[in-house]
Amino acid sequence: MTDEALWSRDLRKVYRTKGSPEVEALAGVSMNVRRGERVALLGRNGAGKTTFLKIASTLLRPTSGEIRVFGFDIDRTPERARPYIAVVPQEGKPFFHLTPREQVYTYLRARGLTRETAKARTEESLHRMGLTEFADRLSITLSGGQRQRTMVATVIATEAPLLFLDEPTIGMDPFARRSVWSSLRLLTQRGSTILLTTHYLDEAEALSQRLYIVERGRVLVSGTSDDLKRAVGGTLKVLLLRGATRVEQFRSFGECVPDGDSLSVIVAPERLGELMDVAVRNQLTATVGPVTLEEAFLRVVGRSIDEE
């Protein structure tokens, strides 16, 4: 058993459908996730995130490349890795004619847990996901968010060594999302490893220790969210009201993006004073704040699209 929970090299996936052109969903993805890490996979719709997750969770064969889960080559021997993984599928739903309590418990039993362990884990997981109140109602009567919470409760109750979560908090309210975050943090403290995809960049920032940005089947950037912010030229964003006409005076500080008649400038902290001097000289009102992961993501992916 290796310390690497997941490892891939030059992973490619080409979808071939009769009568349709080939689609290259993954064009050589290399990635490694260490045991106990929480890693987010980010990207636009169709970037290849779900394809990667499906391959990593043994549900899809790669076209070429290598991929291992806890050292097991999952292209050749997926059955060796399956006892160690659990998946929240994208748009997955619990059985409508089971209650959340039945759903979680029977799933744990199907994975081979004893009655006692399954019962205890079911109650803990339902409690963590705030489902106790609805635990005995059929899932068909639950809201979309409550059903999604049931799916997450089902999978986190496994405490599997490696969890794949494809957009786990979609449709959830902010309180429920935070319950998921704290449950996932607890799981990694207990030794599990988590790879998730999300379109909520605040979620990725709050939850993941490292992230990968994928675009057109390739990894564009990987590292911490701070690494990503630095990659776009700074960790601070200065918004200059009515500064859109003065772009040339600020271009040397970093990336400038006009926004209506305002101008936002990404700047490194050490050059902030110098920039503020220029703003004062030009009688511009400036607001300083941190660069968000979403802004960094938009710039990194936007740059890549421009280059294409």
């Binding site: 399956r82 004619h97 039945e102 029977t106 081979g112 060594p161």
Partner: protein, 253 residues
């Protein structure tokens, strides 16, 4: 590793638990259970009106048709939970074996829908009447029909990406195998040229063998061999193929 078994996924691992899951899922569908005998009931009424002397054949046919129908339900159920619920992703990316998923689902459906079939079976036993050997034969034939239908249903279910497309095929499947051939009526009333085809279709092969065993229809040794041999080969072959296919289709290509 801290939980579950560290070994690789064993054949049929998780079958009892997934079987129980499916029983719970199906047991909540009381309306579907209540309507599961409607077609059989209507056909029995038709036979009663047209020729009351054939009601015994029709009752035995209704039992065999029902076992076929319980197997065929796997087509809709497997496709529905895969396409609409992504349940196969949830269950199969884990230690549950693919064949336990297929067999657990099939057996769960069988268990929940078995009640009304037992009632018809008791009626058939009284009306025909069936002796112990004939009853055992009926159970064996019903099991073979169920295995064949569940296997075909599961394999077909993996071919679809849209549930709506399945409705047309499941209706075709249901009528071509169950209603049209001599299941509710004697083989002797079926066109001679098409009898070998009927003897190769699981529900009509089973019904013809029961008709022969109860003295309703005379079958030649060749016809008995064709029906019995075909049924055994189909049940075993289709089940083995469904297990292979279930394992193979865990991973898309």
């Amino acid at each position: 590793m801290k939980n579950e078994s560290s070994t690789s996924v064993r054949p049929f691992r998780g079958f009892p638990a997934f079987y129980w899951t499916e029983v719970l899922v199906q047991a909540h569908e009381s309306l579907a259970m209540a309507t599961s005998m409607v077609v059989q009931g209507v056909l029995l009424v038709f036979v009663w009106i047209l020729n009351p002397g054939l009601i015994g054949v029709a009752l035995v046919g209704a039992v065999l048709f029902s076992t076929f129908q319980m197997g065929a339900r796997v087509l809709n159920e497997a496709a529905y939970v895969r396409i609409d619920h992504k349940a196969n992703d949830l269950y199969l990316a884990g230690p549950l074996s693919a064949e336990a998923y297929f067999l657990g689902m099939s057996a769960g459906i069988l268990t929940v829908y078995l009640g009304p079939v037992i009632v018809v079976g008791v009626l058939a036993t009284i009306v025909v009447p069936l002796n112990a050997a004939e009853l055992v034969l009926l159970l064996g034939l019903g099991a073979a029909v169920w295995v064949s239908a569940a296997s075909i249903g599961y394999v077909f279910s993996t071919a679809f990406r849209d549930n709506r497309a399945i409705w047309a095929y499941s209706s075709l499947f249901f009528n071509i195998f169950g209603v049209l051939p001599p299941v509710f009526y004697p083989l002797a009333l079926f066109p001679v040229a098409l009898r070998p085809v009927a003897l190769l279709m699981p529900p009509s092969a089973a019904s013809s063998l029961m008709q022969w065993a109860t003295g309703v229809t005379a079958l030649s040794t060749g016809q008995i061999a064709l029906a019995a041999g075909g049924l055994v080969v189909e049940a075993v072959g289709l089940f083995a193929f469904a297990v292979y296919w279930a394992r193979r289709t865990v991973r898309g290509r």
